[in-house]
Amino acid sequence: MNKSKKIFSGMWHNALLILLAVMMLLPFTWIFSTSLRLPKDSFKFPPNFLPTSFHFENYTTVFQTFPFLNFIFNSLFVGIVAGIFNIIVTTMAAFAFARIRFKGRGPLFVIFLAGLMIPMQATIIPTFIIMSKVKLVGTLWALIIPAMITPLSIFLVRQFMMTIPKSYEEAAYMDGANRFLIYLKIILPMSKSVIIMTSLINFLFNWNNFMGPLIYLSDWEKMTIPIGLRMLQGYQGTGSISVIFAGVFMSIVPALLLYLFGQKYLVKGAAISGLKS
């Protein structure tokens, strides 16, 4: 292959990827710019993918006609509280599986791993019955409590903790530290990156979860963002697409922020799970 041909093929290659990248971003710019237009301008052809006007009142309309602030608060509450519970449960289990030789460790780990393969739909009906027996249906706790345990997180954190050299904790044992201190003061700080990564995955899962809130929540004030948006769509109808898109865009912003902050952790997480499969 001669040189000019090589440069040319590289150009085509990049051009194709740039075209794809632009197409993947266009829906986002379209959502954002439509959310700033007057409703009557939303369906004008040809469509404009960049903002043409700045009607921020669409955003205030969302807050005035809907308890959208509640939606945001509820989504954050579920994401953060479930996240904290999950970190405690996950890291303790991962510590046991990675650093303690106890009877039955191997079989128990396999059973936990099998939990990865179980579809949400196979457990959601019984979980709903359990939640209704303890009178938590209709509350955010119905979303938070089952989210405490995610087999994938336990697997990922355990894989990471296995790579920490034994010598760290041996030195601490010599100094008379007990297991709990070793977990708290040595293993947890060293596992920071994988904990951030699994927390990000879990937060995004809870933030985006639609089927759970659809089943458990019925009061306006209790709804999370995805189910709230669904209601917004039904209520506003096709006339006020701008207002709906204002809500849609606000639901994307936290994901965007988390993404910018956590991209390298997400990449790291995919690396751990993908390669040790």
């Binding site: 990049n14 194709l16 990827l17 794809l20 829906p27 379209w30 959502i31 052809f45 040809p46 449960v89 303790m92 289990a93 046991a96 303690i100 030789r101 106890f102 009877k103 128990l108 059973i111 939990g115 393969m117 179980i118 579809p119 739909q121 196979a122 457990t123 959601i124 009906i125 019984p126 019955i129 359990i130 409590i145 405490m148 345990i149 297991r179 977990y183 933030w207 985006n208 639609f210 089927m211 659809l214 089943i215 963002i225 995805p226 948006l229 669904r230 769509q233 096709t238 709906i244 849609v248 639901s251 993404y259 991209q263 997400l266 995919a270 690396a271 799970s273 993908g274 390669l275 499969s277």
Partner: protein, 303 residues
């Protein structure tokens, strides 16, 4: 000597106690939210239950209904259709994309491509699916506007029972290709550059390098991606719920959507659990078959 053994035994006993202490929160949660629900899913199909009246034992009636229900064949068929379309699409296009992005020489440009392709996979499916229904709307959507500009006819993206599969496939590509892409991208980074160099010296082109070197070397990652994509597609719910509402008719009603409708809209818990059990068994079977077949094509160690 005896003292050593007793110290060892003591340590072993202490290991057992502390191991289970650390594991206990996860164990309790696992039993309540995974193990008990699985057992209940096995038992619930034997009952008629609507959450209000006490459960009534009906033996195998729900199973008889299940096999006699014409909708079930359609619904399981729909999920299978999605499986046949979406799984190969994500597994193959994700790999090709990862290969193309990895070959981009400019580091910053490569990172931008990676970021843009991955980003849609973390945003709320519900909200972007709402936006997609407007984009693909037959008369007012801009996709059809551009097709009309090209002199083509309006495409019934959301109303034709075959076309909706194309629409959902496009959405699924845009929304989720980043997930498989990222797994492949990381897998590809572990292939030593020297393999590519020697292939190039031997005169191999990019397509040959891809099929002869890249693909054989990442078979473990391909296997992992096939498994997680399959399990994911089996549970497809949001896409038909938002984009087509299961229609037109029941043409995109998936098993997951059906479970929701039967169990939570019609409050027919026993029958819903029967459908859920069907889905569970199907996923288990497909996953086991994939595991059994892996030694035919997956190579874990090339050394």
């Amino acid at each position: 000597m005896t003292k050593k053994i007793s110290v060892f035994k003591k340590k072993q006993r202490w290991d057992n106690i502390s191991g289970y202490l650390f594991l206990s929160p996860a164990l309790i949660a696992f039993v309540i939210f995974i193990a008990i629900p699985i057992i209940m899913t096995l038992v619930l199909p034997l009952f008629n239950y609507n959450l209000i009246l006490p459960a009534e034992f009906v033996g195998l009636d729900n199973f008889k209904d299940f096999f006699a229900d014409e909708d079930m064949a359609i619904v399981f068929g729909n999920t299978s259709k999605f499986l046949l379309i979406l799984t190969p699409m994500h597994c193959i296009l994700g790999l090709i994309l990862a290969y193309m992005v990895q070959r981009v020489k400019h580091t910053a440009l490569r990172n931008i491509f990676r970021g843009v392709i991955y980003f849609p996979s973390i945003v709320t499916t519900a909200s972007v699916a709402i936006a997609f229904t407007y984009m693909f709307s037959t008369d007012s959507g801009f996709i059809n506007y551009y097709l009309r500009q090209l002199g083509l006819n309006n495409v019934p993206w959301l109303t034709d029972s075959n076309m909706v599969y194309v629409t959902i496939a496009i959405f699924s590509f845009w929304k989720f290709i980043g997930t498989t892409f990222l797994y492949y991208f990381i897998g590809l980074n572990n292939i030593p550059e020297s393999y590519y160099e020697s292939a190039r010296i031997d005169g191999a082109g990019p397509v040959q390098i891809f099929t002869r070197i890249t693909v054989p070397l990442v078979t473990p990652v391909i296997f992992f991606v096939v498994i997680i994509t399959t399990i994911g597609v089996f549970q497809i719910f949001n896409e038909p719920y938002f984009i087509t509402n299961g229609g037109p008719g029941v043409s995109t009603t998936t098993v997951a959507l059906k479970i929701y409708r039967v169990a939570f809209q019609q409050n027919n818990i026993g029958y819903g659990a029967t459908v859920a059990l069907g889905l569970f068994i199907l996923i288990m079977m497909v996953t086991v078959i994939q595991y059994l077949m892996q030694n035919k094509w997956v190579v874990y160690d090339y050394e």
